[in-house]
């Protein structure tokens, strides 16, 4: 089987890029970290990951300045051509700021930075990302964010539902919806309509082995093997 090549972006203030490298290398993927001033992705890129962190210090709005970095032009072209892009946490914020994913991430309702293990429920698995997970399955994936409160207007939400674009919802151990940060309908992750852009606030790359508290992230990230 061909080894998948993952391009992982790095902005000033990104801090999850090497966790992301570690996670994908554990799965046997080839990884390359790309500084934001680069203008092209790694040759033969099968997946672009925009990792977590605080690009540009979260100044103005989380993700708002990173989206104008040189490397983003390459990501945009890659995405337009149908390439697969995954945004984790700050990466999700950047993808909404770019307009590649609908909605926006607001300050958490309780105004706290929330950092803890969180249960999330798989809502849709018929996609390039969560195909190794079962619908209704509950996974333990850490969250760590201040601006994770997903907002979308009613019409936008309806469209997400109709097109099976909702990937994950925050829940308790039994899978009942839990209010974590104020997200519309407890949304933790979505995809675009076309099905090649994915964004989520939880950090699967931090849940790759039992010694770290959970290995549920493995099944999430392994999904890309089938693309």
């Amino acid at each position: 089987m061909k080894k998948l090549t993952v391009s992982i972006l790095q902005f000033p203030g990104t801090n999850c890029e090497y966790d992301t490298v570690y996670a994908f290398e554990r799965l046997g993927y080839e990884t390359k970290v790309l500084w934001h001033k680069e203008e092209s992705l790694a040759e033969g890129t099968d997946l672009v990951v925009i990792p977590g962190g605080f690009s540009y210090g979260d100044y103005l709005r989380s993700g708002s300045i990173a989206r104008f970095s040189p490397i983003i032009k390459a990501v945009q072209a890659y995405a337009d051509a149908g390439g697969i892009v995954l945004g984790i946490c700050n990466g999700f914020q950047i993808l909404t700021e770019m307009g590649l994913l609908p909605g926006a991430l607001k300050r958490n309702n309780n105004l706290h930075f929330i950092s803890k293990h969180q249960m999330v429920k798989i809502i849709n698995n018929d996609n390039a990302f969560l195909n190794q997970c079962k619908v209704g399955e509950v996974l333990d994936i850490p969250v760590a964010h201040a601006d994770g409160n997903y907002y979308i207007d009613d019409a936008g939400f309806k469209e997400l539902e109709e097109n099976n674009q909702i990937l994950l919802r925050y829940c308790d151990n039994e899978g009942n919806p839990t209010i974590l940060n104020g997200s519309v309908e407890q949304i933790a992750g979505i995809r675009n309509k076309k099905g090649n852009i994915f964004g989520l606030m939880p950090h699967p790359e931090r849940a790759m082995e039992f010694v770290l508290g959970s290995e549920d992230g493995v099944r999430m990230l392994k999904g890309f093997e089938n693309t």
């Binding site: 103005l60 708002s64 909404t96 926006a104 607001k106 300050r107 309702n109 105004l111 409160n149 104020g182």
Partner: protein
């Protein structure tokens, strides 16, 4: 020319900072306040003498970068 851009969350988008501050004012006894909204103000020094031109440029800046129009509204004031 100086321009002031005020950015607020749209009506209908919950302003949690405003709400928390309102609550704090209330607990301090300032009970005449019926609503608090928190936004941000960006002050720009623009190199143009033409007011209309400045407004047009700043509108473009607001739409492109300064505001996220999915959740925010903005006003532009030239002073």
């Amino acid at each position: 020319m100086k321009a002031i851009v005020n950015i607020y969350l749209k009506e209908g988008v919950l302003d949690t900072q405003g709400k928390a501050t309102h609550h704090a004012l209330d607990s301090l006894g300032f009970d005449s306040v019926s609503d608090v909204r928190i936004g941000k103000q960006i002050i720009l020094e623009v190199d143009t003498k033409d007011k209309a031109e400045a407004e047009e440029q700043i509108k473009d800046m607001a739409e492109t970068l300064l505001a996220n129009t999915v959740i925010e509204d903005y006003t532009i004031e030239i002073v």
